[in-house]
Amino acid sequence: MWTALLSKELRECGLFAGLALLAQMQLLGSGMDLPLIPLLSSGRGTEIPFHAKRAFDVMSDREIMFITIAIISAIVIGLNQTLMESWRQTSLFLLHRPMPRSQIFLCKLAAGGLILLGTSALPLLIYCLWAATPGTHASPFFWSMTEPWWHSVLVAFACYLGAFLTGIRPANWIGSRTWPLIAATGMALGLKLAPVWTAVVYAGLVALIACLVISILNTTRHREYP
């Protein structure tokens, strides 16, 4: 049943996941001089793929674009997974299946996580491997330089969970409904950009993600499905 539910979720998010993947491939492909659509790319020029520092003022345009695409796609996927189900009233169909409610929603979150890995982490990994290959660019490369980019994937996942919680939360849109999304995005970006140790950033993001998952499971247990 996990396979069936995962396939359903992946299929339902296919369009947005595809668009997000294309956007990241165009962005990071341009950074490798291999853009999907050359007309939309100004070329890599003398750009340095990864920097040694992680302060906001030295974030490259490409890194800013990468995190923007990752966050937007995460929010769209989180809302799509929840709002579509309640608008079509298919939650009544789904939640009556003989599977614990917590497992149904964990499966949805797993599908969302897989989509984010596929649309953000996978293109980033390819970009990192390209940058790690000698002779591809005239700048030093250490894997530690890629760390801020990986934080971005975690930030996107926190935003996804915030959007998911907003989607299932029984509150007024013009009211408190969007608070989880706003709070998750603000806190995750704050952690990423704050001048603190890397370990603190990771610990903070993991704690935020854990809080959001617990809150999601708690909401699904107590909310009404009208």
Partner: protein, 317 residues
Amino acid sequence: MSDETPPNAIVVEHLSKSYGSKWVVRDLNLKVPTGCVYGFLGRNGAGKSTTIKMLTGMIPPDAGQVRLLGDEITTISPKTRSRIAYMAEGHPLYSWMSIGQIVQFTQAFYEHWDHKLVDQVLDHFELSKKQKCGRLSRGQQAQVSLALAVAPDPELLILDDPTLGLDTVVRREFLEALIQLIQSRGRTIFFSSHVLGDVERVATRIGVMVDGVLRVDCPTETFRESVRKIVVGFEGEPPDFPGCEGLVTWRKVGTELELVIVNWGPTQQAIVESLEPRWTDVVDMNLEDAFIEYTRGSKRSLPIFHRENHRVDRAAV
């Protein structure tokens, strides 16, 4: 021979739900015996759908408890849930899936799945597995939902207004198939409906919700036979009715007095005769008439009809 009575498929105790200060369901107590076809009736907003959603665990109650097939709904195990089918109002299906895909998707959740039965039901309704759910008519969606509901061979089927929006022919076909598939196996059906004719034909027992309170819970036949309309004729203006046991409502219509009474008998007859009418007529009612008389409020009489209407506290049948 065993004296044991079959256990109740549904047990509801003191179930209540309110939104703000308004009680949608208030202190509902109900037992549905195994093998029973229970018709759950009520006007719009009477609390039927909320009750059904509380029965299936989709809405948590404010108070009270629900047990389905012996399991408390808040802690119901997946195994027990697999023995219960639920068809939600409007028959929600994933519009992007084909019938074949939704059958395959639903099947993945059940240990026991009767492929042959699904094929037979789809074949009976002339549905192809290649058809997209989003392109099906409302009646066809109901038919697909029925196929999905019966395939795991459920012991209890809960249906929220399953024939809502279906035309007469489709409705009849749907109900006949439902009865054939489920009741012949001694299964329990709990369904809400607005179509009294369907309920009359199918249900062995009915419950009537009025303003969130279960006013009637009895065999269908008993309800129909208990509620009587008494038309009393006078020469001039009829007098006010003094009231009697079982009186649901009374109103003046020209020179006539119309009474709706539960369990019409000699006591009530004596009270009516004490008013010295010219004539008295006891009108037999079908389930629909009985239901309407029992549940409609005082708003239904417009001043233009020059009717006076009086509501009386009703006692459950």
